[in-house]
Symmetry: C2
Subunit: 240 residues, 2 copies
């Protein structure tokens, strides 16, 4: 939790260890995450015991707990890996696309690509992600760095695009888009179509609609509604 300190791109999950990680401790940590990722992918969450993770990583159970406060924290670390991949993949498409709808669709589809290999196990993950008191919760302090980075990615989707929206919406838009992404992920979790084709179809259908909806916010008659939505979001964010 605590650190995150530097400009380290990806969110840290460290809940126990201190900040200035030595080379050795970093290696140990990565070995544990890698072992967990491997076992999660092959056997799922429940079937993967902490004993097995420790053994696979070549460390003691106690040591695994030294780096990760709980089994759930291990999943968060795993999710961080997916997010880094998503970020890298997104950079590529964002560099070459300017249309807002295309940028958003590409970023969302990149997520679907990157997450594909963990789809089976993802269900268990989101079971915890949706639980408020879990450290894995999308809204929890522990996952704040990852969440913020994801919102920042959405800000990039908007900023260098050709999108024009009502100014009152501009500020909240990245967060709203992140919520849209969360919605897609929820759908994805339930999507058992091969290659997640149904999720991809959803993205391709829904993004243009969203695009038109956002551009419509500048029309009189719609603008008023958009402003109300923006102020509603604003009034809800700070404390909640």
């Amino acid at each position: 939790m605590g650190d995150v300190t530097d400009a380290g791109s990806t969110a840290s999950t460290a809940s126990t260890a201190s900040t200035a990680t030595t080379a050795k401790s970093r290696r140990t940590r990565e070995a544990i995450v890698a072992a967990a990722a491997k076992l999660f992918r092959s056997g799922g969450y429940d079937a993967t015991t902490m004993r097995a993770v420790a053994k696979e990583a070549g460390v003691s159970v106690g040591n695994a707990y030294y780096y990760f406060g709980s089994k759930e924290h291990l999943v968060l670390a795993f999710y961080d890996e997916i997010f880094s991949e998503h970020l890298a993949g997104s950079e590529r498409v964002l560099a070459t696309t300017t249309g807002f709808a295309d940028r958003l669709a590409a970023v969302l589809e990149t997520w679907v690509d990157v997450a594909e290999s963990s789809h089976e196990f993802a269900g268990k993950f989101f079971k915890y992600a949706a639980e408020p008191d879990s450290p894995l919760s999308v809204f929890s302090p522990d996952s704040a760095p990852t969440r913020d980075a994801a919102v920042t990615l959405m800000r990039r989707v908007v900023e260098d695009s050709d999108l024009k929206v009502a100014p009152s919406l501009r500020e909240e838009l990245p967060m709203l888009l992140w919520l849209v992404q969360m919605g897609m992920v929820l759908f994805w979790v339930y999507d058992d179509s091969p290659g997640r084709t149904r999720t991809r179809q959803l993205v391709r259908q829904a993004v243009p609609i969203l695009d038109r909806l956002l551009r419509a916010t500048r029309l009189p008659g719609v603008r008023g509604i958009a402003e109300d939505v923006a102020s509603l979001v604003r009034s809800l964010i700070p404390p909640g």
Copy 2:
């Protein structure tokens, strides 16, 4: 939990027991649910052990598992009780209100009232929402009766109201409103304000906006978007 009497309106949670329940088995079952509800409310979910539930209900642990496949099934049974209360409370307000916004707001606030006493451990409800392989998931076939009943309630909110929307939306509207309710519940789960005032504020702010948005679907320029949304929803529902 199962009954709720009328025409088996509410979903049954029975995952283990057979259908034609004898009087004795029904009594045992109810004793277990009652014990669990009591302990959940007073001590929360985690602190309530299956051993304690069994003891409080005067049965053995093994017997509790005979009726409920897991600790989570116990929570679902509890949720069904809340839903019956919500249904009863909603009937009262729907009988005396005709404005769409008022009807919707009243039904949503009734939910907040009814669920208040279980807010602390309510996060557990959402473990279902995001766990596809669980038979308890809100989108699963097993919970279809409860979900359908909730959608039906929303249909009642629309039908006897003064709302006029684009015809293409009319059919999907109850399900969309149910999704809105799910969104509210998600917010509510994270709402730690006393008396859930923030959730109530959300309802009072968001419902009029939604009302205006829906009425705007009959305007040219907006209607097209609404139709796309409707067909998107339609194309996603049947299999998913």
